[in-house]
Amino acid sequence: MLNTFRKLCLALTCALLIFPLGAARAEVGVTDDKIVLGTFQDLSGPAAYIGKFVTGIIKVWTHMVNEEMGGIHGRKVEVVIEDNKYDPVLTKTVYNKLVNQDKVFALIATYGSSPLTAIKGELEKDKVPIISTAASTQSMFDPPNRYLFWYTSSAQDEGILATDFIMNTLKPEKLKLGILYQDDEWGKDGRKGIELAAKKYNLKPVYSPFKRGTKNLSAQVLKLKAKRVTHLYISSYATTYASFLKEANKIGYEPVIIGGYVTVDPRSFIAGELADGHYHIFNHAVRNEGVPGWKELEKRFTAVGAEALLNSPLLPMLWTPLAHFTQVLQNVGPDLTREKVIDAMEALQDFDTGGTGPIRYGENMRKGTHYYRIFKADAANQQFIPITDWHEPSLVWGKR
């Protein structure tokens, strides 16, 4: 009698324990036939040209997943896009809307360090994974945030790589290192990289900051010239880079220039011949190299009439994380949860990007980019030609 009662109790307890698991508590944003994802894009702010670009890429990606692959484990993806105007306040609002109102499963293809910084704290509270790109600041992955995956060129890495390249490859007889940077977190990270490398190589660099949005760079250019800077690393947008070239040409100042990853952009050639022969740091392959990954992108984007997007060398920076994420979703299997996605993100190694640039995460490693190359600009053909092999900066992050 007692035995039966005990057995009954045990069975009941077991049932109660198993029930919530067995009923497959549906994850937020996931239904039987749909995964709702969200993103905030700058559609009308200072980085709107990226917003336009990324919304196009997202469309191609959803087309690929939903039409060509027939969804992931039977689920189609749906992406809710909100305009954040690159404004951190608004980002907070639209993030809130995406997570609490639209109930998205994860955020994808977001960018910009100030918008991302604005919501970093919330991510941890809400436990929403975010697959982000183009926020070149150290604070994105250092210290690592479990839910924030980062993939772009790091400004600190760039500063070190530029100095490495000058010291080990160019080996100039006369050297005065300089950096022209936008005085926000991104530019200051570039400065930090230069500082770290300068300590290693025993250099005394010249720092020339300018306020974000400044158009008249003449004071900065004159300062660099007056301090006789021979080698200059520029951490800014392509249009500012082109303005700099024009202004430097005007006063007859011709340093060796190494541009950051965003200067690998057709708009650098607005400066025409002046853009020729300068060096650029980049963590992707460019289209004219003809690697299989780019060939596939060409096929895919042309098929849906989005070939205009192929003109930007930054395409892999946005596409690769999406492709990687697609693979992760497939690896997780039909029982999709946010935590499982994160574990699968960490577990996926050696993802094949077709030579467009490696991507790798790991336990407590939220930095997806590790390898870079140096390119040289060819203004006549408006192309960038790689001149080094893939390599890491001499001061590897984590051991600096």
Binding site: S44, A118, G121, D183
Partner: protein
């Protein structure tokens, strides 16, 4: 622009805060709605409601300066910024509780308001406008570059607000705090408008020389207007900082300043009700616009990247519309409707 109350019947009634029983009843219903909101609405709506409440406080502050005293300011966001940074710095570097940082933010902003107010005493009209604009840009610059204190571009993360040792939930407890403060601010402002100070401010606005002649110390009242306005703005800034949990220089730009002026214009300048309605309207406006622009961008994908232009255009058009056709703002519309029904079926 004057405070016009059509529906009162006697002087005694006019000097009361709530002129009639029906007004009291309406306010009671509103109070119930505000208290019930977090229990029925989702987190996003509560968040927006909190933002609206903070904006109401900020707009009430600007209303004292611009609406009552007629001093034009394009630097209101700078005072909000000062309050927000005061609260952020005190709560992170000195671990002070919400109950101390909040008034401190107001007091510090008020001090700065007095400092800005003194040199602007001689200025009127355009000169004052551009001076406040200069103040706005200089505060932006200092916040951006004084990195040891403000952390520059990175901004400061604030802890969750706490009250008597209890941490407030952003979507419940803090909402009540913000709304309660907004209500208190509204009542105080209503009182102010009916006090000697309020009437003196209005006198300064309408005819400053005449005001001086009848014994209103113009300089004193201008400074008072600056102090009250910046104190309120400082409080609003601090509340905003806690609400967002993070502040950076991008939060307090010229556009924010213009937004606050737009709030009191759209609502109805120089009235407490106007500041409240205007703030709520301008906070909700982006929600309406995104409700419109969402379908448009999915219907015309080619236009999607340029859809942002629509919100800016609508914002501008609303300003133009109110100034051209309804200078008394939303409050003016409300009063007209009320008068229409009171005198119905007669049209006068």
């Amino acid at each position: 622009m004057a405070v016009t109350r059509f529906c009162v019947r006697s002087y005694e009634q006019d000097s009361r805060i709530f002129p009639s029983t029906s007004a009291k009843l309406g306010l009671l219903l509103l109070a119930i709605a505000l208290i019930a909101l977090p229990w029925v609405a989702g987190k996003y709506i509560i968040f927006i409601a909190s933002v609206a409440a903070v904006s109401v406080i900020g707009a009430l502050g600007l209303n004292v300066l611009t609406g009552y005293a007629g001093l034009i300011s394009l630097g209101h966001a700078a005072f909000l910024g000062v309050g927000a940074y005061t609260a952020a710095i005190l709560s992170t570097q000195y671990q002070l509780p919400f109950l101390i940082t909040l008034p401190a933010a107001g007091v510090f902003a008020a001090l700065l308001g007095a400092v800005v107010g003194i040199p602007t005493l001689r200025l009127k009209g355009m000169y004052l406008l551009v001076t406040t604009l200069a103040f706005q840009f200089i505060v932006e610059h200092i916040v951006y570059h004084w990195e040891d204190v403000t952390a520059g571009d990175r901004g400061i993360n604030l802890p969750d607000p706490d009250l008597f040792g209890f941490t407030l939930d952003k979507y419940m407890g803090y909402y009540y705090v913000v709304v309660a403060l907004a209500v208190i601010a509204a009542i105080l402002m209503k009182n102010l408008a009916m006090s000697r100070t309020g009437r003196a401010l209005v006198a300064v606005r309408d005819r400053d020389i005449a005001a001086e002649m009848i014994g209103v110390h113009v300089a004193k009242y201008k400074i008072i207007a600056f102090i009250i306005s910046s104190f309120t703005a400082g409080i609003a800034g601090a509340l905003y900082a806690y609400l967002l949990g993070l502040i950076s220089p991008d939060h307090f730009t010229l556009n924010q300043s213009i937004l606050y002026v737009a709030m009191i214009i759209v609502g109805g300048m120089g009235t407490v009700m106007g500041a409240i309605i205007g703030a709520i309207f301008m906070v909700l406006l982006p929600e309406f616009i995104s409700a419109i622009s969402g379908p448009i961008s999915s219907a015309y994908p080619l236009f999607a990247p340029r859809i942002g232009g629509i919100s800016v255009t609508i914002y501008g058009l609303i300003l133009i519309f109110f100034l051209l056709f309804e200078p008394k703002g939303l409050v003016g519309i409300w009063l007209r409707i009320k008068r229409y029904w009171l005198t119905w079926p007669y049209t006068y």
